[in-house]
Amino acid sequence: MAEEKSQASSSKMLTLKASDGVLFEVELNIAKEMKTVQAYIDDCEDIETIPIPNVLGKHLAIVIEYIKKTNEEYDAEFEKQWNMDDLQLLLLAANYLNISGLQECLCKAIAKRIENKSPEYVRKVFNIENDHSPEEEAKLRKEYKWAFEGVDKD
């Protein structure tokens, strides 16, 4: 990654190591947006390389870019670029790294893609295995009949 011009407020650089070994050099104030990383720094002042075992290099790059560029306009366009698989992995990354703004943006994006869709569609999109037995499923549908009664079709 190209080295960014250091900002006046902080010239200290930190290295983040993704799960596949890819290294990223970021400024301290960018890294601090990731509360998990902040916790590392709080515990150990001199740390220079922080391992991020749950996040692939490709997703960590996207996360860092988000932190640098986030604003209303950027956020609105951000989610359109990624497929559902990436969105979920990014959300897992944002959740692990504890970045609230990115989590919010991704939750909204995922919700948008399953809005007004049937359970069957949602299962397919998320690869959720329906481990209800047919009897259980029938019972549930009956229990929640009121939620589906007279509801407009998708």
Binding site: Q88, C107, P119, V122, F126, E129, Y144, A147, D152
Partner: protein
Amino acid sequence: MEDTKRGKADEEENADRISNLPDFVLSHILSFLPIKTAVSTSLLSPRWRHIWKKHLSVLDFSDDFFQPNDDRLELFKTLAVFVNGVFTLRKPCEVRKMRLSCTHSLVDHKVCTYSVNTWVHSVIGPHLKELDLTLYSNDDDDGGYCFEPPISLSACINIVSLSLNGAVYFNLKRAKAIRLPSLKKLQLHIGYVEVSPMNALLSGCPNLETLDLCFYAEDSGGIIRVPPSLKWLKIIINNSDAGASLEIDVPVLEYLCIANITITDANNLQNVVEASVDVFPSSAASAFTFLKVLSALTGIKHLVLSRSTTKWLLGGPTDLHFPEFRHLLHLELILPWFNSYSLLSLLQTCHLLQVLIIQNDKDQSPLPICATQPSVPSCLVSHLASIELKGYRGFPDELLFAEYVLQKGLVLKTMIIVDISVDPNKKFDTLRRLSNVPRASANCQLTFD
């Protein structure tokens, strides 16, 4: 999902990742969904069965969820079963936002009254940040469903946005008792209301920044007073003969939109950047006051004036009262008649004008055409980049004006003429004539539709 056959990588590609997220993240996703989608996730898998019930802090209900039913009460009952199901099954969690929209189902029956009141009461409290009620009755006159906001609304000490639309009624005693210290945005699109309860309610919102009112004024001669904290104000009175008026002192106001209301007293309008005005002062005295108000918009950059306002403003060539707006960049006028002399005199006062949009509302000017001007308006020479003429009728005066602008507009980029109602031959002739006019600005584009 793509079908790949790559062994282990394949497994990872098709894994159920979402279930690896903690419950509260999943319910956060669900909070952005319409409730019926959220509830239906209980069917996805055993893991998902109870997720929708937790952290359900945003409730959004509408009778649009259900298939239309001529029997309004039946439709309401279907909605009620759904809403009550959600309320009873959800795990206790403070509701932060609630929206309830009933546009085809309310009737004057205790099922409706009790249900709506109970639902509103169950979310009222210090955790409520936003409340949006749209409750349209079946009957516009007396005798039909009606919602009265409870005094307990004051328990919503942290509410930031309140929107009440439809059959909502305020009486003075209750309105006086309602206090909403954190309220920043208030929208009331309702029926008949008297000015006193309206003022009482507004005085209970001392930190209000956005106010959107649309109603029928019950009493004529009532004066509305708005909080001085306002940044955005829109008041539309639906009955034009109401004679209601407005008193404002709004030092931080940036946006103003008023229709069918006169301003009796206005101070501190210098920060208003955008305004849309549709008023018709009924007497010379009120016209004078109104002119003072218009002139007080010294910082205005974007101005829209409707037919009634312009009719009064452009009364005659010698009576032109258009104030000088030093910062005006964008002007839209709906004209009662087309008169190029009045328009050019008006342009003399807007030195920085960049965009001009004129809508011609039918009539030929009752005044004689007088095309000579002492000097070219300075905005034409240096700033006017875009002009749009809507409702071209083919009057000679309109053509003269368009030609003049093309000839003198040094920085003009676009001239758009639309909504043309002349016969095709005349239209073609006009287009040809305009295209042949020598243009002062080389890159000026003429669009004639």
